[in-house]
Amino acid sequence: MKYFEYSRAATFDAASEILKTDEKATVLAGGTDLLSVIKNEILEEPPSQVIDLKRIPETDYITLQDGTLRIGANARLADIAASPEVTRELPALAQAAWSVATPLIRNLGTIGGNICQDVRCWFYRYPHEAGGRIVCRRKGGENCYAILGDNRYHSVFGGMRCGSNPCTVDCPAATNIPDYMEQLRLGNPRGAAQILFNVNPIPAVTSRVCAHRCQEGCNKNESGEPVAIRNVERFVGDFALNSGELFYAAPTEQSGKSVAVVGSGPAGLSAAYYLRASGHEVTVYDSKPEPGGMLMYAIPDYRMPKDIVRKIVAAYEGMGITFVCDTQVGADLPASELEERFDAVYYATGTWKRPVLGLSGEELTVFGLDFLVQVHDWMDGKVGQEVLVTGGGNVAMDVAITAKRLGARKVVLAALETEDIMPAGKEEIARAREEGVEIQGGWGLSRVLSEGDKVTGMELKRCLSVFDENHRFNPVYDENDRRVVEAENILMAVGQQVDLNFLDEKYQLQLTARGLIDVAAESQMTSRPGVFAGGDATTGPSTVVECIANGHAAARGIDRYLGVAQRHICTGLQIEKPFLSFDVEGVKRSEALKLAELPLEQRSIDVEDEIAPDEAAALSEARRCMNCGCYAVAPSDITPVLVALDATLVTTTRELSASEFATSALKLDEVLEPGELLTEIRIPLVPGATTAYDKFRLRESVDWAIVSLASALATENGKVSGARLVLGGVAPIPLRLSAVEGYLLGRTLDSETIAQAQEKAVQECLPLWNNAYKVQEVKAFVGKALARLT
């Protein structure tokens, strides 16, 4: 057993003080659970010190006074089970206390310790010496092993979220992916879309061009391919875009404020949507003939069809957003005028400028972004037989594939980074390779080879490392390891820079050391009050979804600046469920949904490669999502009784109801403040009520409840006048059967009523693959409790 310090608390407050200063300290209330956790090394980090509460004077009382039973937190379970007052007045509590573990354990265990015991899931409790502890989701890991593993003792009512899921954490916009997958499974694509729109107003774009880092940490990776979130989003994004005004409606209330958005790429579009939602008058300026920024001009049609961008812009116009194109802020419209005319201005001008690398012969090469913008000029055979693309990002991949599709026989892509650290998404790299692009990782640029004005190739030098030990970009080359790639065109897809032409001597914004617009992290406000900036112009080249998140943050910052509360276009479309669920068969499938693609020979630069999935395909893939959370059950025998009897729990700082204490969150540390300790339990007697605790377990001793039911029932003139039914052992928290209680009131407990109540008790059941038997137990216990009154 790992070493810890031991001290004996003289008062609860003294123990609290220690807990507040040492977060690795823990309390010992009876010890039978705590010592087991420490002995078996269940947790990665054992407690630094154990504070014994048992010797705090006068804390183990059981007294009945003025119709209230008061029990000190240190009262032993054996004493509660044997107490004449408890046995007489609240048999349910005596029965529950008696049912805990064994007589030997009950001589040690206290009621406080029982209520606060740790979860009993056998994955969570797997002993360290028996092959290594399991760091499950509940323990701060990633996976809930009950989803695919043996879950015979787990919840039959669904799970609860436990920390943030990796897909959500890995998404720059923090999209609640598992929730929207669940809405799809519930047959509610509108609710799914609403979840996306909470953080991303252009899912029809991200579903096509986002790198979907969310899939990399997906827990399905452990048992197959990750959930094809991208492909599910493809359905939801198009669904939303085709849903008329549902997601792109004009706001019902106007704020009376006006905001100018400069740049209509992902950041500008994101900000414009949320600003309009809040009721502002929004005008979007763009220097190009059409809105959309990089979406319209840089990302090739085969990935980002322009009709989608145009449809989004039309939807925006329907919301009342005004687009002003062909207008270069700075040249056509002074920035100062913009600032005067609008209550706030948001710059999301992107990174369109070509950098000067200082390479010999650089002037003979073509900037990759220009190549993509002017791609139609290249369509008539301007591309040579052999093309070299430099760069390792998504733009480089787009450039390489486009060159190949324009007819280049051989396309070599040379990147500084080796493939494992290339910034481009894995899917994009795979796509480039599939189309025959030769990818050469780990090569830097040396010089352009030419004959007169004609490019003949480029000399590359081996790049040994890209980043230094501080993770700063600082490439190291082997000057002796060089090679030549022959090429007629060199397309440089490296280092896009921010264009700050709209600034002049009089109108300045503070810039960062990297030459980007400097903004406050929280509000996205620049050095000028009321002037905000975001997207690539403030971060350097990034991804579409990062820009969307950034634009949303700016909209929030602008709302705060203007003193207007942020509002949403669509609300209330979600189906709310008390617990998480997943599809027990779907999660077992290891293969992800693949989108149908045009065959290689039919692919071009202006027709989308991938064909959208239909609703059935998207739903089928959504069924593979495990909806990661904790699916263990609340183990205490005592808490269901306390919830059923409407007990009040007294802590060192306050009083709270048993239901708030035991059912408002998955873990106790989410309910209690640091250092807050349970000191007393108060249970009001209900004259005339019959209370009972029924417990099903494998052995008549030791075991925890597989199903238990705490009941408090009263009848008047043969009709039910009061009913409280709380299940234990079947859900992550004690589960009150409110629907059954409501149904029973005023009814006679005949066999028909009992049968109906039994059915209602299991209506919301979501059994896992190995625990459906519990559903039958729940029904049996409800029947048994009700039959007791007949």
Binding site: Y6, G31, A78, L104
Partner: protein, 160 residues
């Protein structure tokens, strides 16, 4: 404040131990069963599951039968602990429970027997005339793999 010393009695004998991590000191994380067996040489209490489930390590603390693997020795301040070694009289006369178990062959391999005897002793101290059902209930935390239960209950019935 860190506990530095603990005093308790085992089988009527007083012990005071210095608590700490130096050589010879009682470790704050030491379990009572380990102290009994390793420090005091009282190996009559057995270790099987060491997780409170089997009852083989049962001792009587202040009148209550408890699994000594779920008790920290440092937590025994002022406690009076009785182990299987403390049951027989100094002259070797067995406790009535022990004698009944011998008379009824209420054991097979015997590994769980000290725990069962201690639980029985605590039961009889509180309830000198338990019914067979009461004895069964009191022994619900003592496991026997050899199925000595029936003889155990017969033995208890004979002295109840």
């Amino acid at each position: 404040m860190k506990t530095t010393q603990v005093s308790f009695t085992v089988n009527g004998r007083e012990y005071t131990m210095s608590v700490g991590s130096l050589f010879g000191q009682l470790l704050p994380n030491e379990l009572l069963i380990d102290t009994l067996r390793e420090r005091l040489g009282l190996t009559g209490s057995k270790i099987a599951c060491k997780d409170g489930a089997c009852g083989c390590c049962t001792v009587i603390i202040d009148g209550d039968a408890v699994p000594s693997c779920d008790v920290l020795t440092v937590d025994c301040e002022g406690r009076s602990i009785l182990t299987i070694e403390g049951l027989a009289a100094p002259d070797g006369t067995l406790d009535v429970v022990q004698q009944a178990f011998v008379d009824y062959n209420a054991f097979q391999c015997g590994f769980c027997t000290p725990g069962i005897i201690m639980t029985t002793r605590a039961l009889l101290d509180k309830n000198p005339h338990p019914t067979r059902a009461e004895a069964q209930e009191a022994l619900a935390g003592n496991f026997c793999r050899c199925i000595s239960h029936y003889h155990v209950l017969d033995a208890i019935e004979s002295i109840a």
